[in-house]
Symmetry: C2
Subunit: 440 residues, 2 copies
């Protein structure tokens, strides 16, 4: 190895938490009072370059996530930067394949989310060095290089390297036109802002009305805590938005399989577009049973689907109509490339999960890459949008008339303002010193 | 609350690691050099009682596991001991259901294994106070109390509370006779000692011969790294043990679905009894496809099956012939009661995963409870046995003529000698000071 080569010199992880439970932003049937948080990662190189990534959590346990990131750091510190960035598939496998650390997963839970934070930071670093937003970096890669990112070991029975290559090659001729379209008119969003469970009917109605006025054609309501309440909220929302705006509903895993089917019956008259997370995120067969029973209501899941093997099965079992990948649940951009290819193979639209801390900023790149270079369409594709915490990001998302504008700044978008990190650092940041009695 | 009531006053977690990689004990296709480790947990009460549990890992990452235990501790410290022990179902749900911490799972990975360690320690505490080994504590519980331990939320589509009650009531009349049989003649074991991948052919042959002479009627070999090597090792083992001793083989997740089917074809002539972990532990549908293709070789899995919802699906999809529950992968004794009931409903034999640190000591209680009060049979049931690290336990397993003798000491068996904890504590114990250069 060249002793003067630039290497990954350090990876920092910081516990950053926002006291969102104070306002009940983000409240749902399973998450009554989240404090949206991030294990925030900075990759540093010996030449002084930096890349930024994060794993999103909802408060307690963010320290465990930071510990998991730190356990992975020795696996890649010291690597030549050029090797790491030239093959981010191998880089990802190095993080997820350690023979001792994989016992904590494999490919799931805290250790996998920690890999996501580091993998995302590496993609951010590469994109910054190439001067491109990640969506464009991906969308301009040769199909062979994209296929080379995928770990096919457990996926080949559903998607072969040859099929993946075919999907990407078929989309190649239209890449330039779609890239221009994206830069011109963006990508459709839907908003979850009106629908948190902790909001009053008045607040729900006002925010739903505002969403439609702002140009959104889909909103989402949280359900699953109280059936009568769900009927009232859904009726109210439908009255406010009218028949043409899609209303998705989200149970956040509150139900068993039979219970989901029962609960959805009286909600059907309000024409919900999809039911999200009706049951345990691990229950592939349960989702399939629910889907068969509740059609034409679509079934959506993915924010807790912990890896590509689970997505593979959701697709094989015809368990979902909508695939909701997440930026930091699976091992970051690399594993999400595999998931986008699986979705394309099975013809299922990808509508990423977002909100939280920095998820909107990150997932937009995946949806836009999908449009330009994989599925080639925006039909029935929407990216979730939630309008909080964006002010903490250096390159926040831009929303206009219900659409995400394509990011033009280099990177993945997860870089936080230095002042935000200092202020919300847990437990020593000034926000947590002040609010400690109220929130802890 | 009575201010004088006994409460859970503290829960300690210690990082204990044994440098097993030095001898290649425990080496397989995915774990070339594990250092068998435990996040070792002690529950303490305000009256000075103690209960012991652990989560097993294979080295790096054991610190993350300890951090995960510590994140859960505040959820139960301060609880009245009588409340905690009277309803260990509610106690377990308190640990796995925290609305913020469950984001790291839910019910999977490091945070779920941490819950296992605490739940197991609570069962140990209760059993010590009642003066019974855990198997007998469970086997003498009324069926209604056992059913009350189960969280049916995500299981009802496969097993209702009524069905669970029926299973337990059907087994009730024979409990006393089977308990006497168990105390008299124990429970069958099989041994993995001969089969580690790092062992030479000579060592394999000698240990296989010794196992048969010691009375074992089943051994297990690790496979999956090199096909020619596997053929040679399996042929050798078959020659040594003869046609009547069962030889299980274990790929430790090395293969994809199609690859597993191909790899097993040339091994079939040596009549392997089961193939264990042929592919990703998450791949329910993959296991089902492999099982259909490789019959009559049985398919076994479970040591990485992360919760009861996954076991439910393995059973629903007819993906396994043998269910290998683990003591600390799912949330301890409580979730394993649900898994035993699911297995009984589907008529699939449970052959627990063991070895590691303290797994033999713990899982024997589950298999014996199953025999006495759930399935009511030992037919095709065997508990894995590996002959190392038992000397560190206060109440080690006792094996005679290839059978586990029923434990008679109160508790779950996971209590380590104080001197072992002090000596193998990582990174400050004397063993790690001495071996630091070689092992780290």
């Amino acid at each position: 190895m060249d002793p003067l080569a630039e290497v990954i010199s350090a990876i920092d992880a910081v516990d950053v938490r926002f006291p969102t439970s104070l306002s009940l932003d983000g409240s749902d049937a399973m998450n009554p009072e989240p404090d949206y948080s991030a294990a925030y990662v900075t990759i540093r190189t010996s030449d002084g370059d930096e890349g930024y990534g994060l794993a999103f959590t909802v408060g307690r346990g963010n320290d465990v996530e930071v510990a998991a990131v730190r356990a992975l750091v020795p696996l890649v510190v010291g690597m030549p930067v050029s090797d790491a960035l030239a093959d981010l598939g191998a880089f990802s496998r190095r993080l997820t394949g350690d023979s001792q650390l994989r016992w904590l997963g494999p490919d799931k839970g805290a250790i996998h989310m920690a890999a996501a934070a580091i993998v995302n930071a590496a993609w951010d670093l590469r994109a910054r060095r190439e001067g491109k937003p990640v969506w464009r970096l991906l969308a301009e890669m040769p199909p062979e290089e994209l296929v080379g990112l995928v770990d096919f070991r457990y996926l080949q029975d559903a998607l072969t390297p040859g099929e993946a290559l075919d999907i990407l090659r078929r989309a190649e001729p239209g890449r330039a036109a779609r890239q221009a379209e994206l830069l011109d008119s963006g990508f459709p969003a839907y908003t979850t802002t009106p629908g948190w469970l902790g909001y009053s009917p008045e607040k729900l109605a006002a925010l739903a009305k505002e969403a439609v006025e702002d140009g959104f054609t889909q909103i989402k309501l949280k359900v699953g805590a109280d059936l009568d309440e769900d009927v009232r909220r859904l009726r109210l929302a439908r009255e406010v938005v009218g028949p043409d705006v899609r209303i998705a509903i989200d149970a956040n895993q509150a139900w068993g399989v039979g219970q989901a089917i029962e609960w959805l019956r009286p909600l059907a008259e309000f024409d919900p577009y999809w039911i999200e997370e009706p049951t345990s995120p691990d229950d592939v067969l349960g989702h399939a049973a629910i889907r068969r029973a509740v059609a034409p209501i679509k079934v959506a899941t993915g924010e807790h689907t912990h890896n590509a093997v689970m997505f593979k099965q959701l697709l094989q079992a015809e368990a979902i109509d909508v695939l909701q990948l997440d930026a930091s649940r699976v091992a970051g951009v690399t594993e999400n490339v595999a998931i986008l290819l699986l979705a394309a193979k099975f013809g299922v639209p990808v509508c990423p999960h977002a909100g939280g801390v920095g998820l909107c900023e990150m997932v937009q790149h995946l949806a836009m890459f999908d449009f330009v270079a994989v599925s080639g369409t925006q039909t029935d594709r929407v990216i979730e949008y939630v309008d909080h915490l964006h002010e903490h990001f250096v390159d926040p998302v831009r929303i206009e008339r219900g659409r995400y504008l394509a990011p033009v700044e280099p990177g993945l978008g997860a870089r936080l303002h230095t002042e935000s990190v200092a202020r919300y650092r847990f437990p020593d940041g000034p926000v947590w010193q002040r609010d400690a009695v109220v929130v802890a």
